[in-house]
């Protein structure tokens, strides 16, 4: 068996269409390793660190898989010492992968990024250096109060958003900077995409203080 180090892209069922002439990160040829009724898409590991371009190339292979059946996307950087190790990984987790494939079959992931329309209120001056200890503590306390208030505003808005999407599996990621409430990932069945679009519209109509940026369809990164 070849001893080349490999990177992995996604897992599918063996019966799903296989990569044909598909190129992955740094143009390496993508091939399928079949094991236990599953298929692991890999290419040779060219080494080196992550770049945005490589991240796009990784996702592009997964998107190619998506055109025929929903795959389980692997995180970028999933590497194997050699083909034997890759096959062993699939064997050891075959039941888990089968269960996940069943759960996401026929589905796609949509991403909704929620932004406040108005810019965040100007930050009061950060606690001054050189002021008294008490001044510092008071300023710091005020700053923490503002941060907590912002978290509560974001949390309340996310709850209002969620109410528009009952019974849709969702994963939230809170925003990490001012103005970004957070991102929500939804797992949506293909047949439900038209009605999902209406739910997005109703969310947009209610949450007028926000912009909703929709991305996707993604492979179900957030649900595997």
């Amino acid at each position: 068996m070849p001893t080349e180090r490999l990177v992995g892209y996604c897992i599918r069922r063996s019966g799903d269409a296989q990569p044909e002439g598909l190129r992955g990160v740094e143009g390496a040829e993508v091939r399928a390793l079949r094991e236990r009724g599953l298929s692991l898409w890999v290419s040779g590991d060219v080494g080196g660190a992550a770049t945005v371009e490589r991240v796009r190339e990784h996702d592009a292979v997964i998107r190619a898989a998506m055109t025929t059946a929903t795959p389980l996307p692997l995180r970028y950087g999933s590497h194997f010492a050699d083909e034997a190790a890759a096959r062993e990984l699939v064997r050891s987790r075959a039941a888990e992968f089968e269960e996940s494939l069943g759960r996401v079959a026929g589905c796609v992931e949509l991403g909704v990024r929620i932004l406040w329309k108005a810019p965040p209120s100007p930050e009061a001056a950060a606690p001054r250096r050189g002021g008294s200890g008490r001044e510092y503590l008071e300023a710091r306390r005020a700053e923490m109060g503002r941060e907590e208030a912002a978290r509560q505003r974001d949390s309340a808005l996310l709850e209002r958003f969620d109410r528009h999407f009952p019974a849709i599996p969702a994963v939230r990621r809170p925003g990490s900077e001012p103005g970004v409430v957070g991102s929500v990932a939804h797992l949506v069945r293909g047949a439900d995409l038209p009605s999902y679009r209406l739910l997005l519209q109703s969310a947009r109509e209610e949450l007028v203080e926000t912009d909703l940026i929709v991305t996707g369809p993604w492979a179900p990164y957030s649900f595997v």
Binding site: T51, T67, R75, S78, G106, I213, T215
Partner: protein, 83 residues
Amino acid sequence: MPPELPDLPDLPGLATADDFELWSGAAGQEPHSLVELLNRVLDRGVVITGEVTISVAGVELVYLGLNAVLTSISSARQHLGYP
């Protein structure tokens, strides 16, 4: 110029990409799309190994899980060539 966004696949039995207002097209949203891509590909998905090599300022680092978002919107904007 911001880079071309990847084509959305036509998924069998699903609405076509044209039916959806995806990638929204409005100016200034590409940095958000980039962050959405990075958050998924680097911080979600099936985990095989516990480590990913990431380069920060030219130094390769191995990290065991991603807590903070790898890039803020301002970094994403810079990368995409926005002012």
